[in-house]
Symmetry: D2
Subunit: 247 residues, 4 copies
């Protein structure tokens, strides 16, 4: 479907309950960690490690992760395309060791695509600040939540359109749009920054420092984690073994 | 008014057309630039400059700004409290050389305070991508915009309350809230990062590189600029003279 | 002593076995952590915490450090003047979340002040890569080391002078100077970055992640740590309790 | 030659007058700038630009560079191996938006390879602080400089060996070594950070902001610039056209 066709359909409101993460490109492999680490003891001879099989150096990677020698993990680069609600991007962009470009509500008429929770999303928070956990909601809670989100989004987008049609600037009209609106961005990170992101934005048994991320950013993080595991399996294993602490 | 009283009133929807910027604390003076610069030629003797009158060194500060020797401007710190709509914070937090803490929609029930443009806000965008300018809207455009923003916000907040009352978590319910909702944050920056922020987020005659910020973030930037001018008048003058380019 | 007098004496070679750390200025107190953290749950009411007594909020600070909520520790600023050998500055400046200005060998004739280890400095490394420890050297080892360092430095400085006297640029002549030459710098860091620095550049019992810094940068770090403890005693206590991991 | 053979020869002192820069790997092309920029107006349709021919979008890249929209240049990564004297690395590592790993004088016995200026290196500085320029030295100046550098380096390395042979740690012995000693490092940067580096570390006619780098770091920068031009020719052209200012 071309961009123009897409534009024609764009006024039909869409509700989705998932996020999208695609690897756009990468320059990241386990062997990158090896030569970066070896330069400290081998100087220029470390160049011999470029592009070699990293599997025989698993011990070195485990050591670096465990002892928190983080800099050798930085000579890597992964670029992801992410489509997720604005409230997820608000949390994501607090991570400063990364590069971002995002869709703009100033330069573009935004599309009516909104996030609603799926039935699997635990809706009810129990506990107190600092130690919340989430449990399932009832069917009634779920239906009410979805119905009211849809109602709000529908009115907001109708009003957005009406303000635009009156000739007012996009950057003013977008004020009405809710934080559950989807946006698109590219983010580029190195493996060290990504491990820091994963340690904070996923909730896992066995993490040295437990985290309590919002489920929707965790959905993004889980997809990034799967890609990371594929690109750098030994590094990923070391991250797991060392309690999911970014080195 | 105490925090508790504030809480009781919090369900009454408020619409405001201004932003708030307060200087919380600072460690920033023109003389800080002097000793930081002088260490390069004077070593430890530069300590003699700490706390001295910077006015006799105006030429040095102008030179540093003009020739873009930026590092001496970094040994300064300014912390601002800012209350502004979410769409402003979204742009603000793209500035990575800064420290942020913001009100949380996960940990707190958000207050119904929403931004609507004032009558002075130019509403209509003319030109094409890359060289937009803004002109006044008609009274009709203004009234329609304000009416529809208020309508959307009112429904959104009503639905937010209804979802909360059904026992669903704040982090889920807030999905309906629009980006024109006010939030609060602290931001700490040094003078170099602040000059970069000002160069990009204000639109001024005589800027070497013209910028076209959204008016609402410019409203924040103007208030920060006035505080900066008061704290570091010579540095501010040098910034102006050198075409408002961050050194 | 004036700068000029200093300059006259500057050709007499000095050997020192200590480093200098002075707090130039700071904007850093435990209460800064409180309001920065409280904005998440209290919004603008957190402003009431500015400048208050932090001692009643020790539990909050301990919680933030233990659970690694690091951002509230960033709204602080400490500027140190440091005089130490070049090989220490080489390690120090690998810390990127900091601002630096240093004495310049391009813009200034460098003074003949050189570091030699004191008798207390353990000279002999035992163990293997990744788990070295240091033990005392013999008197013979110590005397030989000091004698040879002094001999090298003396010739280097004599040659530096001779190249300068021949009319060659300082930036060329300084090539001969050894990394044990003292330099001076200002560094400005926030408390979070400082805790990261301390966790990596000191070797302490009870650290969650043990570090093996070179003794000379640890001498700098210990002096910075003492100043930090005085400025932010509750935060410092929380850092200690949580295993000296930067939050 | 194997690493071991290298080690055997390593005690023969080598003097060199050049630096080495090799591209280890990269993920950087002009089209990366296009999709990163287009996401602001095209959202997910920008994915269509991935891997396309950037030449038809030269105007967009020129616009981004000229108007200083820097973020689209960040989704790129270039890793260089660099061999250069320590005094060059001291300047290089002041650039904080980069990742570094360097040969270690703590973990390795350093090789006796030292930099001496070539006959082409202008030796004499004329002018005053802030506006220096360099002119050729005489043959006498050149010969004296080279002779004294060699003398100092030779004694320093002899003393380094003698301290090591006495059983003292490498990290102590290296104190005697001069800043003209070669070291090796990997540095990874994105195109935006690289343009900033080039704008400050090269001296070129037509630069909007003239810079006065030390010749030896400029030798490194020139080699990096040639590689950058080859990887991203349109971006490089835009950098040139916009006065060599990093966007």
């Amino acid at each position: 479907m071309s961009a123009d066709a897409n534009q024609d359909l764009s006024k039909e409101i869409v509700f989705k309950d998932y996020v999208t993460v695609e690897l756009v490109k990468s320059s990241a492999s386990d062997s990158d960690v090896i030569w970066a680490a070896r330069v400290s003891t081998a100087g220029e001879n470390s160049l011999d490690e470029v592009g070699t099989d990293a599997s025989r150096s698993e011990g070195l990677i485990n050591y670096l992760a465990r002892e928190r020698h983080g800099s050798p993990f930085e000579h890597t680069s992964m670029t992801f395309f992410i489509s997720a609600p604005i409230f997820v991007f608000r949390e994501f962009m607090r991570h400063r060791i990364a590069s971002y470009n995002e869709e703009s509500g100033r330069y573009r008429e935004l599309r009516p695509v909104f996030y609603v929770p799926s039935k699997e999303r635990k809706l009810v928070q129990v506990g107190k600040p600092g130690s919340y956990s989430f449990i399932d909601g009832t069917d009634e809670q779920y239906e009410l939540t979805v119905r009211l989100i849809k109602e709000s989004c529908t009115l907001a987008y109708k009003n957005y359109q009406e303000i635009l049609e009156a000739g007012v600037a996009r950057e003013v009209a977008r004020a009405v749009l809710p934080v559950t609106l989807y946006s698109s961005m590219y983010v580029t990170m190195n493996a060290r920054a990504l491990m820091n992101f994963l340690s904070l934005r996923t909730s896992r048994e066995g993490s040295h420092f437990p985290s309590y991320p919002q489920r929707e950013i965790e959905m993004v993080a889980e997809k990034m984690e799967a890609i990371f595991e594929e690109l750098m399996p030994i590094t990923y294993g070391a991250f797991q073994k060392s309690g999911r602490i970014a080195p």
